[in-house]
Amino acid sequence: MAATLVLKIMGVLSNRTSGKFSLLDPLVKIVITWNRNVCYFCYIFGILGFVSLAYESVSSGVYISENALLPGLVHGQFNSESVAREFLTSIQEEASRYPNGMPYAWIAAQFQQLGLDVGTQDFVLRYNIGPKTNYTGRNVYGILRARRHSSRESVVLAAPYRPPNSVFTPTNGGIALMLAFAKAFRSASYWAKDIIFLVTEHEHLGMEAWLEAYHRVSPAAGLVDSGDLKERAGSIQAAINLEIPEGRASYIDVKIEGLNGQLPNLDLVNLAHRLCRRERVQSTFKKRVDPYDGTSLEGFLENLETMLSMMSSQATGVPTGNHGFFHRFGIEAITLAGYYEPGMHHPIRYHELGRIVEGIFRSLNNLQERFHQSFFFYLLSGTNRYISIGVYMIPFSIMAAPLLLRAVSIWFDLVQSHNAQKDLTSLNYDQVCGIIILCHVFGSCLFLLPSTAAKLGLSYFEFETDESVYYGFILASVIIAMLLMFPVKRIDARAIRCIAHLEMATLMFATALQNISLATFQAFIVTPLFLGTGTASSRKGVFFKRLIVLLAHPVMILHVVLLLDAYRTFPEETPPSILLKSLSAAKRSVMYSLMDSFVYGNKMYDTCIQFYLPIWMLHWLTAGQ
């Protein structure tokens, strides 16, 4: 069906011998003559389709695709509740001596006593935005050498260390569990892959530094000086990150979203959930329990909220835990985080946690090859429902199609008017090309902005770095907008708009391949705004069109989204305080996204500067014309 449509469109487009189009095909005719209605219909239909993905009969039930995993086949042997508790008290004792640091020596000594190969790694972050400062840290790791293999493959059990004075909940429970696990299984004869026990400092930074050092590459801008590692254990097949609190935990949340919205193989996620279920531990996704009846309306709404929650965290491209950095190296990784909620479930003991981790590692031990069987691109609407790429791409495509359809209709328009003039050169190709290239050059120039703005802001106004970068951005946006306000003579607005639509559509589809959530939100916000641009005859109309385009400016979108978020999180506050809160959040978020881009290699900022902003400029330039 789709193929015939495409062929028909191609046939119609190509049949230009007579100098005019024959709009014979009704489908093509509809698309072109009722373009506006078709576009809005597609948009709304696409949104409805996307929402309906959360419905239980649209999504599918999860299953384990990789046979080698054999989850839960082995009998759990972990029985070291008391050992783990002893480790926990020792850690707490040791941690109280270093309120801001990490007891490296103690952890390394424990690994040493267990007979592991121990290594430490020092890393430095050379921070170059604003005042130059260096942050240092150290990671400690121990490697359990497998008896059945020659250190060519390994799996990682990691935990971030959080000092007592940190703002985050301490994860000493996870470290205690790790040590108890190492003690219980160090002498087991069945390990075919080395196990790396890794304790990192400074949250994301430590993990990034360790992975860079392990693989001897620096995918981001190379701000982290990560040095080299003494011990290695071959290619890492999978990783489990533990964020188990010191105190009680009543459920385990499985976190999956990684850097740039990359997800682990669905098999690994399912494995964790299944083993939790085997140990009768409540496992959740996005801290939400599955609804009892997914087919009911309440169930649907709950599933929808879970899915949207996943999508909003995936869209930011910021990892939800330390596992997110493994994904970039082709390593499947998840975080198991323990949380406590009164009355939800009886507190989980180390006994059960240990058996879950044991089960996961025994399964990973069975792996013959890397995870490849199951999905890498999916959305989850619960712990046991998934939506695969083949399903979610359909509503997404419908949602993003209007820009393409609009571009096609503008193209027809252009070609017809050119044919009427019988003149090929009436379109000023030079001007169109020049403007498009110029806008992209403008956008790329903004790469230099953060460091310049930070320097200027510090020396002239004594602003904080985040403030000066934020104001720098606002200023640059205003300057660019003012520059592009000057009307260019005889500008071919339709051609430029057509190309801008095409580029936006391409950008959305390209994003959808990496990060469907970001692409969906893009399509959701941008499509109606950019569809609203077009020619206007009156002054009022032009002003209105400009207003619409202004709303699509990245800074504007950021503010509106953060305002809504602040309103949602603090519904009891007064409007002025919500406004202030969202403003300060905007300042911080600009800085955070810069940091993510420079230190970790988050692509959000780059994409925005290099592609989205130039497209916006093209629309701003031609607004109303």
């Binding site: 191609m10 487009l13 190509s14 049949n15 230009r16 011998t17 007579s18 100098g19 024959s22 990359q262 994904h327 970039r328 082709g330 390593i331 890397r370 490849h372 890498f376 691109f377 096609v408 193209w411 044919n419 019988k422 003149d423 090929l424 050169t425 190709y429 030079d430 090309c433 020049g434 290239i437 050059v441 095409l502 391409t506 390209a510 391949l513 990496q514």
Partner: protein, 446 residues
């Protein structure tokens, strides 16, 4: 005072130049080359085993250390080129040579385009229904005059060309030889054409089939088909052209033999291209197929694939020997698509010549879809590559599908141009307005 006048004059000259955009983009190329720190060394689209600058360094090193550059399986560059690079590198001129070749190639191509445009207009004027054939091209003078600009723009605004340049791929030298040979061809200079073609063929075996269209072009240029004169006849030109080509190529090869002392370099260069032993992914059609095919059949399919590369030249020559511009373009693009190790450098150069066919634009040209196919494959290709190689979330099929799509879009471009040309010819012979039984009809391709 004097300086300001000079500045004034030069500024006004600059402003009066018609291709401000080209100058701007040319400068942008230089700036980008200088400042870009993107690591392109591992891009499969840009680098294939035969054009990697690192391999040349390795070859020079091996040559100096153990005397034989081809002892490993890394170097596939001809001995004379290795020697030339060594001399260039000694004086630190290698980067300058690439820059000069890059810009010279663009300028040569624009001259070539202008000449070809003149020939195309002449060809149209020669046709039977002269007025209607000219109505195909209402602004024939404009077409000729602006063609140089068009081609410069198509060359310098072409991201494929830009990437080739900033990555310092040595295919640029191939392109400059080819462009010089084309220039000789369109000027009717057999010596220039054959010598440069031999140079191109020395470096890249797939330049040899270009001999056919360039000979056809020269013959048509000399007008020996129309006149019934005995001497010099068509065969004289064919013979002369072949002789010059073979002598030059033979000289290069023999000289290579002289400086290396053995004929082993042939196996590392021509043999490597013919046998397709390196199956690392690139944008061509060979690697995936020869990874998948069973070893027993691989020889057979090797013949099939290599013959496929040059096979289309025969029917194309038979059909279009009266339209040598089209023939030369078609052969160039077919070779770039079907060669064993294609890179974007080969594609960039023939795409830059595409504006020649702008007058067929009104007849058949799926322009929007074509543009979109190119854009989509150029964007999705690298994305799928990174998903496959870096994230490990996709696999080889994704990337191969995109290269197939890219090659399909190139074929699509070529068939469109050929079809447009045929239609144009039809109209120029029969007139634009067709009447059957005194009714106006329009022709369309079903």
């Amino acid at each position: 005072m004097c300086l300001s006048t000079c500045l004034d004059i030069s500024m006004s000259m600059l402003l009066h130049l018609r291709n401000m955009l080209v100058i701007f983009i040319g400068l942008l190329h230089l700036v980008l080359k200088k400042i870009s720190n993107i690591d392109l060394r591992f891009r499969p689209e840009i680098f294939v085993p035969t054009n990697h600058a690192d391999r040349i360094k390795e070859g020079i090193f091996l040559k100096n250390i153990i005397g034989n550059a081809y002892s490993g399986d890394l170097v596939h560059e001809q001995p004379l080129f290795l020697l030339a690079f060594e001399i260039l590198q000694e004086y630190g001129l290698d980067s300058i040579a690439i820059t000069v070749s890059h810009f010279a190639c663009g300028i040569l191509l624009s001259w070539v385009g202008r000449e070809i445009a003149i020939d195309i207009v002449k060809g149209l004027k020669r046709n039977k229904v002269s007025e209607s054939s000219l109505s195909l091209m209402p602004h024939a003078e404009d077409y000729v005059n602006s063609m140089g600009d068009w081609i410069l723009k198509a060359y310098f605004c072409n991201p494929l060309v830009l990437l080739t340049y900033i990555s310092e791929s040595t295919s640029i030298f191939n392109n400059i030889c080819l462009a010089a040979s084309l220039y000789g061809t369109v000027k009717g200079s057999m010596v220039l054409s054959s010598i440069f073609l031999a140079l191109a063929a020395y470096r890249d075996l797939y330049a040899i089939p270009m001999l056919i269209p360039s000979t056809v072009y020269i013959i048509s240029k000399k007008n020996c088909l129309k006149t019934q004169r005995k001497w010099p006849s068509m065969y004289t030109y064919v013979f002369l052209n072949l002789t010059i080509f073979i002598t030059t190529l033979g000289f290069f090869l023999f000289y290579s033999f002289k400086i290396t002392g053995t004929w082993k370099f042939l196996d590392a260069t021509y043999g490597f291209v013919l046998k397709v032993t390196d199956l690392r992914p690139n944008i061509g059609l060979f690697w995936y197929f020869f990874i998948e095919v069973f070893g027993d059949f691989s020889n057979f399919f090797l013949y099939v694939f290599q013959v496929n590369t040059i096979f289309y030249i025969v029917p194309l020559t038979m059909r279009f020997h009266k339209h040598p511009p089209l023939l030369i373009y078609a052969v160039m693009s077919l070779l770039a698509i079907y060669k064993a190790y294609p890179s974007i450098a080969d594609i960039g150069i023939y795409i830059s010549l595409s504006p020649l066919w702008i007058y067929t634009f009104n007849h058949t040209w799926h322009s929007l879809q074509l543009l979109f196919m190119f854009v989509v494959s150029c964007i999705l290709g690298p994305i799928f590559w990174s998903l496959w190689i870096y994230s490990g979330t996709a696999n080889a099929n994704f990337f191969y599908a995109m290269t197939l799509f890219f090659n399909a879009s190139q074929i699509f471009l070529l068939t469109n141009i050929v079809l447009g040309k045929i239609k144009c010819d039809f109209f120029s012979e029969n007139g634009l307005d067709l009447t059957i039984d005194e009714k106006k009809v329009s022709l369309c391709l079903e």
